[in-house]
């Protein structure tokens, strides 16, 4: 009987120690995940992608209209064929690349240009860009 009680107490102690170790690991992993999770959420918000039936020339015009909607923003020099840059008032810019997708639609991707670009300014430009695309093609979608 005494042996059984001792065994139960021992088992309980082992479970308790493992539970405490588990809780310690939890706290450590949580801190690591917090960092990674925050970075993931930010990265997702800094990029945008739209699909539209507009041709590349119309998308270029829509980019200029979107820049005009955001006070202080302006279209910069084209860094490469098929790409445009919009310089944001808070610093940095957005690179807009246009590509045809397999379904015949045009895919417009917006990526931040430079680490100094503010997330809020980017998000606001994404809204302006979608509005400019919808003004020409109401079926344009955010993806």
């Amino acid at each position: 009987m005494t042996a059984l009680i001792l065994l139960a107490v021992l088992l309980l102690a082992v479970v308790l120690v493992l539970w405490l170790v588990g809780a310690g690991i939890t706290n450590f992993v949580e801190a690591v995940f917090d960092q990674a999770g925050g970075a993931f959420a930010r990265r997702g918000r800094r990029r945008a992608s739209f699909t539209t039936s507009l041709r590349a020339a119309d998308v270029r015009a829509a980019v200029s209209e979107a820049a005009a909607m955001l006070p202080g923003a302006r279209v910069g020099a084209e860094p490469a064929v098929g790409r445009q840059v919009v310089l944001l008032p808070s610093g940095g810019g957005v690179v807009i690349s246009v590509a045809m997708s397999g379904d015949g639609l045009t895919r417009v991707r917006l990526n931040p240009d430079g680490p100094e670009v503010q997330d809020d300014a980017l998000a606001r430009f994404h809204g302006c860009m979608l509005a400019a695309l919808r003004a020409r093609d109401p079926q344009s979608l955010s993806r």
């Binding site: 949580e30 999770g37 959420a41 997330d119 809020d120 809204g127 509005a131």
Partner: protein, 271 residues
Amino acid sequence: MPGASAEVVLSRVAVGLSGALATHGWQYVRSRAAQDLGGAADGFLAGMDRHREVISSLPYGERVSAADELAPSIRAELELLDQEHGEAIAPGLRSLSAFLQSREPATGGTGRVAPRGYSADDGRRLPRVERDVNQGISAEIRADGKSVAAACRRAAETLGSHARVGVGAAGVRVEILPGMVQALSRVSPVVFISMQAVADGRLRVETRVEGWVTSQSTMFGIIPVGPKTLVGRGHYLRFLSALETELGALDPGAGAVRRRGPGFDAGRGPL
């Protein structure tokens, strides 16, 4: 019940009662309504009980949207009740309205995880799940309710079949289904997007997470290992980003759309 405030009281009671129909707290709310409204509302409450029976028979994930859709008809019934009984029922309606408003959670709701010694107010680190569900969007834009509802629908469509949208009188409810098979998926989180008219034809849009589920790995089935995570977190963050863009597109010139929550409010510069 005369005056413009009567409209607000009736709407608030209708939305509060319809919201309570889908919750475990219905009997408590019902007894409070019976107490405030008295015998004049017996027929009305019997009708609400029938609504409750129908909603209880629905799958769990569909109850909230079904209850929300009842709000306009409940409001119409309340208007009739108000016309029939006038001043006799007005104080009860006001009292019930105040009670229902006090039940509305400021943030979060069912499924809220234990605070574990962290606080949102004093700036200490929040558990990861709390940080996630406290993220949201606040916007003030020049647009009508229909356009905002359509924007919410389009933002939810970016998740494909992983989102279910219900448009009600008080706002839009988006239920995220993160599982691979939607029929078997848990619903987490449930996001409510409220709309409120403010001055100059502008609309204030706020999102809040109403309910959520957490998951956590365990060793030997009992020892927790790793952080608790929000089920549907990735889908929820994608939805918020899409909604931010959609709302921004509704009023690109003058609208103010802000992402809020831990990590988003600190160090914000002017737009």
